[in-house]
């Protein structure tokens, strides 16, 4: 997969899904503590999301970092907007900002 292919894959995933988590591993089998933390937050909130395993190709793993201008994995996107990585998502969850964000964006949470 060439680099620009990775970018178009990413753009497509973001455009076609309300909530996308670019992560290491899969939602069922996260392969990194930080990715697992965000999966737990989203599951706890009952928010449906698409998990994209960036470990499947080096171009994807590098491409997402350039695409978001963010050096670590995971990356959470909500309605096409980059929200942040593990720290930011956890902080927003604890402060209630994440719930507000989902409400504002019309994303269904349990």
């Amino acid at each position: 997969m060439a680099e620009n292919q990775a970018h178009s894959h990413i753009a497509k995933d973001i455009a076609e899904n309300d909530v996308v988590l670019f992560m290491k591993g899969t939602p069922v089998m996260p392969q990194c503590g930080f990715s697992a933390t965000v999966v737990r937050v989203l599951n706890h909130m009952g928010v449906a999301f698409k998990g994209v395993n960036v470990l499947e190709s080096m171009e994807m793993r590098q491409g997402i970092k350039e695409f978001s201008n963010w050096p670590t994995i995971p990356h959470l996107y909500v309605k096409g907007e980059f929200v942040g990585g593990c720290d930011i998502v956890r902080d927003m969850f604890q402060s209630g900002e994440l719930e507000t964000l989902f409400k504002d964006k019309g994303v269904k949470a349990a």
């Binding site: 963010w70 050096p71 670590t72 990585g85 930011i88 902080d91």
Partner: protein, 76 residues
Amino acid sequence: MAMDAAEIERMIKVALPDARVTIEDLAGDGDHYAAHIVSAAFKGKSRLQQHQMVYQALKGRMGNELHALALQTSAE
């Protein structure tokens, strides 16, 4: 591959001269740190932008030599 806390602090202060930086070594392996950074430069910036400013200060080391840096940023 690792970084020591003093090096992380030095790089952050080069980019954010007024920054007050406290760093905690989470695992003792030079790879997992938590940092609390206070700088007026963060004023008016979103949390995401504040963290991106810190990553830029670390000039590509974040996600490479430095595997994990739990960040807390504030303007004052």
